[in-house]
């Protein structure tokens, strides 16, 4: 075939990979329909919404700074630490308290459970012997997956940990795989180290991944959230060097912070690397506005609180009041335990945020704008029974 003839042949239709023949046939029809529409309508710009972080960056950072200074980013952590200090717990007891608290994620319930189980690693048989009482205690919404069978969850966890009578059993279980050099490197983390483990895998990141994989395989883990929560508690309460190098959204580790970031920046992307970048931008915006929160564990809380603030569903001290309402609503809590909890709260928070001092018993609705679906949106299920 000569060149002139080849030019006369009709061109084959463009093929879009992955599209079926039927779907391809729809394209010309859709184009024809578009051409029938008036041009002005087609060129009309789409609705432009300014993302909150661009318009209200200073305001949001100021609010997060206030929440952080009030110890309200995660108010349970300082109280757990203070309780450990008040009771004079050693490392093993602290670790056990952390595990029990993480099972319920409800501080008064954890205190009652600790009374039933003892303040050291309990045996499987002992846990199952008090199972009815343990299973009746309320859990928070984050732990709804084990609601009603916390005892079975704890028994399975203890079985994974091993012989409870062995000395320092929990320490051996939790510190598995950490060399002294790794610990030192985490604590002495400088700028060069930061770049090293954010850009490429390093021993620190490898250890974090090892920790995560190990904990995710335990029974009753609802996704990766509890792994992060346990690591956070072990770090802040016991002082173990489990430090998340980022929010791990690039490996789809957590969904809630990702959803909150999409909301804040008006950019919805399922690509984890992009969402990680948004998290970094959020952290930078806090730093620019003199809110020096470095840890990703707290940044995750801050992201969520920022969205709640935009929705007018949070005020400074909300989490502290929520804890008080849980204390007041748990009948199993004995008077001395309640007094101990209130004493720990007094040591951790400023008096102006304490309801027991200023005469309120829970979340203050008067500080939030009235709304029709108020009771649905504001109150999280404290007892999910």
């Amino acid at each position: 075939m000569n060149l002139a003839k080849r030019k006369q042949l009709p061109k084959p239709p463009p093929v879009t990979p992955g599209w079926s023949r039927e779907r391809r046939s729809l394209v010309p029809r859709a184009k024809a329909r578009l051409s029938e529409l008036p041009k002005q309508r087609i060129r009309q710009p789409t609705l432009f919404i300014v993302p909150p972080m661009e318009e209200r960056e200073v305001e949001i950072a100021h609010f997060i700074g206030q929440v952080h200074r009030a110890n309200d980013l995660d108010p349970n952590i300082p109280v757990v630490r203070e309780l450990c200090r008040m009771r004079g717990y050693d490392g093993e007891q602290q670790r056990w308290f952390v595990l029990v608290y993480a099972a319920y994620h409800n501080l008064p319930s954890a205190v009652v459970a600790l009374r039933l189980l003892g303040d050291r690693l309990a045996s499987r048989g002992h846990i199952l012997s008090v199972a009815p009482q343990l299973n009746e205690l309320p859990v928070t919404v984050q732990r709804r997956v084990v609601s009603g069978h916390v005892a079975e969850y704890l028994a399975a966890l203890v079985e994974c940990i091993g012989d409870p009578t062995a000395p320092d059993r929990l320490q051996t279980f939790m510190d598995y795989g950490w060399s002294p050099e790794d610990r030192q490197r985490v604590w002495n983390k400088g700028r060069s180290e930061y770049y090293r483990y954010t850009l490429k895998p390093s021993p620190v990141l490898a250890q974090w991944r090892k920790f995560r994989r190990r904990w995710e395989k335990l029974p009753g883990q609802d996704g990766r959230w509890l792994t992060y929560e346990t690591a956070r508690l072990l770090r802040y309460v016991v002082g173990l060097p489990y430090k998340a190098p980022h929010l791990a959204l690039r490996t789809q580790g957590l969904h809630q912070p990702a959803a909150a970031l999409w909301r804040l920046y008006g950019y919805h992307s399922g690509w984890g690397t992009v969402v990680d970048r948004l998290a970094e931008m959020f952290r930078a915006s806090l730093w620019r506005n003199e809110v020096a929160i470095e840890d990703w564990e707290l940044i995750e809380f801050a992201i969520r609180k920022a969205v709640l603030y935009i929705d007018q569903r949070y005020y400074v001290g909300f989490g502290i009041d929520e804890m008080l309402s849980r204390i007041n609503r748990l009948p199993e809590l004995q008077p001395e335990e309640r007094a101990e909890l209130l004493q720990a709260r007094a040591a951790c928070f400023e008096p102006r945020y304490l309801g027991e001092v200023n005469d309120w018993s829970g979340v203050r609705r008067s500080l939030l704008p009235p709304r029709e679906d108020f009771h649905l949106r504001l109150l999280r299920p404290v007892g999910s029974k």
Partner: protein, 180 residues
């Protein structure tokens, strides 16, 4: 009060090295927009970070209007910078007019030692251009640098870094890695 600290000096004086030492233990986040800058807790360093020709040398030649506009709108209270790109009288005057408390520091050392340092890092710049930088720095020192901020580049690097770290613009806020 908003603080802006700027370090000037001839090529090879050690500006970037001292900056890196002063901000050694502070984590930073690199932000590409509206121009490249590094955010650290409580402040911002203009320009990017790299092994050689760091700081404002990483910025394009026409960046000055963008930086001045950003400085007039930012809520950040502490800015630090080093390098040749923005070191000029027009920039410094505009910064002062915007209400920033400007501190210009200079690193001074003999020309022969600076030349040796440049050779050691393999930066073979045009000699007449280098002389021009020297003249520019000398003029800026006369106009903007207070005597206490004229620093000898031959002093120990830790001493110089500590001197910079004591300035309010570098202090920012202490990183609160744990809850109180």
């Amino acid at each position: 009060m908003r603080n802006l600290f700027y370090l000037i000096g001839v090529p090879g004086a050690g500006k970037s090295t001292i900056f890196q030492r002063a901000l050694k233990d502070i984590p930073v986040i690199s932000e590409p927009r509206p121009f490249l800058h590094c955010v650290y807790p409580g402040g911002v360093q203009l320009g990017g970070l790299r092994e050689s020709f760091s700081g404002t040398d990483t910025l394009p030649m026409n960046v000055q209007p963008n930086v001045l506009h950003w400085l007039s709108t930012t809520t950040c209270a502490n800015i630090v910078a080093e390098g040749d790109r923005l070191a000029n009288g027009q920039f410094f005057d505009a910064v002062v007019a915007q209400g920033w408390r400007l501190t210009v520091a200079s690193l001074e050392l003999p020309a022969s030692i600076a030349a040796t340092r440049r050779e050691s890092r393999r930066s073979y710049q045009n000699p007449s251009w280098v002389r021009g930088r020297g003249t520019k720095v000398t003029n800026l020192v006369r106009a903007y640098v207070r005597p206490e901020w004229r620093m000898n580049a031959l002093d120990p690097i830790d001493l110089l870094a500590k001197r910079l770290g004591d300035h309010p613009a570098f202090k920012g806020l202490p990183v609160e890695s744990r809850q109180a």
